[in-house]
Each structure stands twice: as C-alpha cells, then as structure tokens.
C-alpha cells in the first residue's frame, strides 16, 4: 500500500531532514518498518511517543491501524493533558 508520509519537523532528523516521504505499508506498523529500513533510526523515533493523523483523525496508538492506498499519514508528537 503506497502512502504519503508527513513528518512533523521534530521527527525529521533520522530522515535526513525530509518532510514528506513516499512509503509502503498495509498498517502503520508496517509503514514504520519500511521507513526504518530506508532511514535507520527513524523507526525508533516513530514508535514511541508519536501519534498519527490519517484523514483528519488523530490516532494515539496507531501500530495496527490499516492504511488505504494513497493515504496521507502525518506523524506528530503524542499529547497529554490535565
């Protein structure tokens, strides 16, 4: 499943500063694996304390979330509250 990944600016270091990347994955977990293969270290950055926004929906624990062809996947820091 080809999707377009958008990294918030604090997550771009391991991706060589790239803001957007084309990547593959049937789930967000598989997508992160693909990204980690191509940008070693990016997987660690995306697996902990990071949420995704897909089609406007904020998902805090997205590892097994399925992805549709052409999805726009935004990785963002996880938030908390009081």
């Amino acid at each position: 499943m080809a999707v377009r990944v958008h990294l918030s600016s604090n997550l771009r270091g391991p991706a060589g500063g790239l803001a957007e990347i084309e990547a593959e994955g049937a789930t967000v977990g598989a997508l992160i694996d693909d990204l980690d293969n191509r940008y070693p270290g990016l997987g660690d950055a995306l697996r902990s304390g990071v949420s995704v926004v897909i089609d406007g929906l904020l998902i805090a624990h997205p590892e097994y979330e399925p992805l549709a062809e052409g999805a726009q996947v935004y990785f963002v820091p996880q938030t908390a509250g009081g």
Binding site: S8, G56, A80
Partner: protein, 754 residues
Amino acid sequence: MTVTEPKPRYKYVGTRPVRHDGLEKVTGRARFAADLNLPGQLHGIVVRSPHAHARITSIDTSEAEAMPGVKAVITSEDFPAVAPGHRQYDMCVNVIARDKVFYEGHALAAVAASTRDQAQAAAAAVKVEYEVLPAVLTIDQALAPDAPVLHAHMMTAGANPPAEEASNISNITRFSSGTDMDAGFAEADLVMEREFTTRPVHQGYIEPHACVADTGQDGHTTIWCSSQGHFNVRSSTATLLGWENTRIRVIPAEIGGGFGGKTTIYLEPLAVALSAKAGRPVKMVMTRDEVFRATGPAPGTKLRIKLGAQSDGNLVAGDAYLIYTNGAYAGPGGLLGAMTVFESYNIPHFDIEALDVVINTARSAAYRAPAAPLTAYAMETLLDEVAEELGIDAMELRLKNAVTEGEPSTMGFPFARIGFVECLEAVRDHPHFSAPLGPNQGRGLAAGYWFNIGESSSATVNLNEDGTATVVTGSPDIGGSRASMALMAAEELGIDPMDIRPVVGDTEAVGFTDITEGSRATFATGMAVVEACRKMVVELRGRAAKMMGVDVDDVDWVDGQAVYTGSDSDKDPLSVADICAKAKRTGGPLTATGSLEAHGAGPGFAVHLCDVEVDPETGVVRVVRYTASQDAGTAIHPSYVEGQIQGGVAQGVGWALNEEYIYDSDGVMENPSFLDYRVPVASDLPMIDAIIVEVPNPAHPYGVRGVGETGIVPPIPAVANAIYDATGCRIRDLPMSPIRVLEAITANGGSNGS
C-alpha cells in the same frame, strides 16, 4: 447563551437535568477519600526532606519504631530498586527518595501508628543525615555553565548534536516551517520581540491527596483513593511495589478537584507498604502544607517570542524560544508549549525551540491544558501589541490570521473541522464587546487552543428488571461526566436520564479506562457508552422480535421503543420496560459493554473578553466583567460545559493576578497555605458569561470535543491586555500582583500611563 450551527434534534442531549451526584455532594453525603475509616485503621505520616537538594547519607528509624503506637516504618529499602532507564524511574523516586532528595518536601520515609499524633511524633524521630548540596532554584541557575547537575544520568533528549555530558536540560524540542526565517521576517513591515517570565503555580484543588490501603495476608490490597484515574493508581502502585496488577484493587472515592494534579500518585504505594508491614489498614491524608510543598505545581517559564506582520495584519513569521521548568524531574512542558504557541494562527515561517529544565523544586504535574496558558500569555499579549502598532483592531487581526478547516497545524497536519473563527465571532457579536468602560477600566481580548485527547475507555450498560438502567464507566467524575454519560445513554436507549444511574466502577468492576485527563471523559468514555448502548439496542430488538414473534429485521428502535415495521399484522410497540419485564424468558439479563481506543479527539478553541478596573493608587486589579466563548463541539449537558468554562476562567484569573510559588534562597517554600497563596474566591470574580459554541467534532457520535481544559488558556493574556488597556502598562512577569502593577504604573509615569 449558545451559538449553534444546524445539528440533529436530540431529546435528551443538550438538556440540563440536575446531576445524579449533585444532592449527595451539596448535602455532604458524598464520600471523599479522607471520609473513609476502617476498623483497626492506622494513620500514616510521611517524613519529608527539609533541604532542596541533598544526598541522604543515613536514615535511622530505630527510635521511631520504638515509640508508642508505632506499627510500621518504611524507607526506600522497602521497595524494589530502580535505576535510571526504568520506564517510570522519575515517578518511583519521586514517591520515595532513594539516595538523594531533590526538593524541600521530598518524601523519604513514612510511619504508621495508632493515632495521627503518634505517627507525627514518630516521623519527627526518624533520624536522617544529609550531605546538603547546592540548590538550583531558577532557570538561569540551571542553565549556568557551572550549574550543579541534578541528575548524573540526564543526557538531553533531542539535542543536536547528541548530548555527550549530563546537564539540567532534559529535553529540547524544535519545530520549524523549514523555510528561510530571515526571508520570512524580511517580508514583514513590523517585527516585535518580547520576553516573559512566569512562576510555578499550584492546581489548587480543595481536597488534599488522601487514601486508605488495606493489605491482607494473602498479599492482595485494596486502595480507596481520590484520583483522576484509578487504573493508573493501580499500575503505578504495582510498578513501585514490584507487584502484579491483580494484587491491587483500587476503589475510586469522590474527587474534590484535580485539574491535572491527580493524574499521578504520591501516597498510595506508601500506604500499601505500611499496611503490608503492619498488617492493618493505613490511612494517609496530606496537609495543605504537604500538598503545596510536595505535589505538582504547573511549570514556571522564561519565554521569548518574535512576530513579523505585514501592514495589512498578515502574520508572516514567528520565532519562539521557550524554557519550562518541570521541577526536579523531566517533564513535557516545553514540548507542549512548542506545540501550542503558534497553533491558532497561520504563520508561514516559524521556528520554535523549547527547553525542558530541571531545578530543585517539586516535580511538576499536569494542570489543565498543560503549558498552553503560558505560551498564550506571551503570544496573545504580543499579538495585541502588533495590532496596536499596526493600527488594526485586535479582533480583526485574530480573525484575519485564525486557522480554519484544512489549514496546516504547526505539526503539519491539516485541521479537521474546528471552531476558532466561530468563537471569535461569538465574542465580537456579544454586547460586552462594545459596552462602554468606566474610569480606570480596560478591556482585554485573548484566544486559546488545546488539543484534547482520546485514549482508552470502557463502559457497561445494565438494564434493570423495571426498565431503568445502570451505566458503569471507569472515568472518575471530575467535572460532571456522570451526567454526560447518562444523557448520551438516555438518547441512545430512549430512557429518561433520571432513570439511568451513572456509576464510576472500581478496577475490578469495569474494563480498563485511562485517566480522566486531556478533556477526554465525555469524548472517549462517552463513545464507549454509546457503543455499549448501540449493542444493547441490537439485543433489545432481538428480544422484542422474540416477544412479537417476528423477524428481527422487521423491528426498528424508535424513540425508546421496539417498533414492528413489517406488514403481516399490527403489533404494539414494546418499551424498554416491557422488554426488561420479560428478560428471563427471552434470554436472560440485558447487559452490554463498550470498550475502545477513541480516535479523533477534536481540538478546542476559546476566546475570552475581560474587563478590569485598576486602582491607580494601590495597583489592585479587579475583574469587573468577563465573557468567554468556547467550541464544545456539542454540549451534552450545557450547564456543566458552562461550569468548566467558568472554572477555567477563575483559575486563569488567579494565575494572572495572584498565584505564585515563593521560595527562600535555600529553596524552602514560603507560602504553603491558602492564606499566603491566594486563589480567587467567589467574591473576587464577576459572573462569567459563558458562550458555548457548537461546531461538532465529526469523529464523535454526538460531536463532542471535550471542554475541561481550553478555558484556562486565554485568561492570563486577556487580563494582561485589559490591564494594559486600563493603565498603558505591559506587564510581562507573572503574577500581575498589586505591587507589580503599581511598579509598572509608577515606572510609566503615573496612573493610566499618563
């Protein structure tokens, strides 16, 4: 007052029944944690550090153990060792210090005795020897090149290049547009830069932390406590003790305020350990002094913001450098500040750097919309200055730059449906906006933003034999969520809300539920309730079909009744009570559960308008009128939405005008009581006019966003902008207490800046 866009017509959602727990609370029957007493109960007292920073060289408990009535004394030796890198290391060593104490009031031992007096006497007899270390009490001290390093293992996360030496900076966060900032500011006709400082403030909940623990010989314990999340109390206590979760049952008491401060634990593991050692139940109740000294204040900050705007008011560039103190341990203040500072406005060129710094004060805890009120203070007052400098109305400047659906957040994702513009317009169109001001009065406008979160929730719906219902959830009710759950269940099932009993279940009575934080209870737990009710309706249709002798596909659920839609014959509709009455004969008890990880939390925006009157001779500021709009998505129970908005305003006004932690030069807190730490009381505030804006969150079945936090974000800048309007003085150091206001007026040449 409610401003709404067209929405479905609801029978119960949006109505204002008396809350189910209201009578018990106003008549004093509600049981808070400190109200519980068990037979044979002991009283636990914590031994706390008198030093802000010291190495513990020895603890001698022998004299205390021999004192009358003493049944148990514990130190860190009674807990499993933890080392840096442990997932909850900071929490563990904050609850009970190991080799070092990091702030005055840091717990390092505890005593249980037959009476509280005996326990206090024994706690005083615990002999602790310290090697006192230099205390780091301010951001500047923490960042000084020769600063004592609090934690030898603290390597700055997010540093680029990676940190090679330990420091007092726990984390660096950087967000940027990735564009040329110099070019961005070059596009501006006006560039303004300002610095701000703020001090830690406490959440100020009226009920001190309290718990009772009863540990049996079977190694299982029951904890009664006041918290924002009893499942978290269970897991955190288990972590500290090295126990399995199944050995701990946590029963939630009513909570007398939390505001984020009861999302962590302090007493519970100590009470369990004392109870296990003594073989008796142990009750622990903090004093107000302990609450101030040892439980989480919100961070203090140093903030610098630079904005560039074009002459027509278009914001083109923003640069922010934010430093948050999170007390003695790492915290998320800087990260959250960075994520909120520019989030409300379209700023094409931005660069944000945020530092989280540790100092020798109590470990910070969450406080409603953590970090956001402070970035709003800086951003919204600077926006006011920009508007004035450009000669543009402050409201128009905000409307011109406000984010709307589809526009990118600072994090890059496009906003879904949001109601910021609607909140601005609601205030602009309110009579307050154009009302005349009196002598020495001024008016301030400010906006605020908060994310809101989802997380995990569970709910069980049980229908009773008479057709009434019980809704059990795992979310402690800190703001009227019982009423919200009942209203949503009523809407789904067609039962009167007062025939539904909303219950907060303990850790063995309902499925896992995350903490009531992030304005998530009505949003996420409400989704679980709706899910359970919809499963229940499927079951009710099936039972009704059996009773009617028809196919289930020919039975619909309409306005609380099973209605036959087939054409074979006439069938009378069956109510919930009709179906419940025959439940034994149609399949047994009617129970349904909903458990989910809630996706799609909807951001909340708020816009506040504040009038103050400033006494030019004393500097005393009195808030004389206040109007607050907030996008609730959908207000399930409007009265409690208004209450959340009003509560946020009250706390924000206190933060703006009076509240601050004051330490002496050794790091000892000097104002640990409500006499010297001044929170607003009812007579300090006018009626707060709450405008509920309803722009439904598309991810929630009723459009809920969550309302518990956003209301505290705009008050500080709203008050600051009002003080400026009244006096001509910009105060960039909190709190704006009489002495600071008077100094500013004097420095500005006299009253009203004239």
